[in-house]
């Protein structure tokens, strides 16, 4: 039953991805100033939205681990697995955003990169979470999970700064599409639909791989516990 539910969810996700692609390429009209290059928007913005959501999962998991590690070690391990899964999948989506952004910027601004507030804070966010993953990969010992949790919380503090950067500072990056003043928002309903479908599709895809990454980590924890038990018994 569980396998069927996962298979059904995966099938719906693939359907959403195909539908989102069709909407972005064939249904949404060409934007007047940026022309076809604007279609990168339909992958670029949802990628960052999902990345921020998963960094929030990592943040919650890190807090959960620190809060539960003494009283409920089993729950703390589950929280730690969510923290790691959120950070890793978040980095994947953030990487997509950081690559599609310069591709779009090259056509829209004529440059690949500029050290403006939005781009710089986003790169710093990516570097913090890559450091988190390197710490998880190469550090050993009982303190590793605690240090990673602290770094995970520290990294998540950059997310609101990234989000607010285009409001707080004058930047090369465009103003927010939503909530960025009276002229913000997507006016054409076909563009809005294409954007909405792609947000939904990438969210569904992200949740699928987040769940998979969580289960891989839980299984890894169980193998490590089993090996430790065997070593004690030997």
């Amino acid at each position: 039953m569980k396998k069927f539910a996962i298979g059904l969810y995966a099938a719906i996700t693939v359907g959403l991805m195909v539908w989102g692609f069709y909407q972005a390429i064939y249904v949404a009209p060409e934007e007047q100033t940026m022309h076809e290059a604007q279609r990168i928007f339909y992958y670029h913005v949802p990628s960052f939205m999902v990345a921020f959501l998963f960094f929030a999962v990592s943040f919650a998991g890190s807090i959960g681990f620190l809060a539960l590690r003494r009283g409920h070690p089993d729950w703390a391990q589950a929280a730690d697995a969510w923290a790691l899964a959120g950070a890793e999948v978040g980095v994947v989506f953030c990487t997509v955003g950081l690559i599609t952004g310069p591709l779009w910027g090259r056509r829209a601004w004529g440059i690949w990169w500029t050290w403006d507030a939005r781009l710089t804070t986003t790169l710093v966010l990516w570097l913090i979470y890559v450091s988190y993953l390197l710490l998880r990969r190469f550090a050993a010992g009982p303190q590793m999970q605690t240090l990673a949790a602290v770094l995970g919380i520290f990294g998540a503090l950059d997310v609101p700064i990234v989000y607010m950067s285009t409001r707080w500072w004058r930047t090369q990056h465009p103003a927010p599409v939503f909530g960025g003043g009276p002229d913000s928002g997507i006016k054409d309903p076909r563009m809005l639909h294409a954007f909405g479908w792609n947000v939904l599709a990438w969210l569904a895809w992200g949740l699928l791989i987040l769940g998979l990454r969580y289960h891989v980590e839980r299984r890894q924890q169980s193998i490590a516990n089993q090996e430790a038990q065997e070593a004690l018994n030997a």
Partner: protein, 49 residues
């Protein structure tokens, strides 16, 4: 199609291809990890000693 439109199209194709390559590459990596775990955990669960 003028030169600018062709370039625009190529940049869109590049962005979409990069997105899918990264996402599917990561999924494949997870799949390999999953399979390796299954392989490594199988002997110890069969052999209690």
């Amino acid at each position: 199609m003028d030169q600018a439109a062709i370039l625009d199209h190529q940049f869109v194709v590049a962005a979409y291809c990069v997105t899918w390559t990264i996402q599917l590459g990561y999924l494949a990596l997870l799949g390999l990890k999953w399979r390796a775990q299954k392989r490594n955990s199988a002997p110890s669960s069969r052999n209690p000693h």
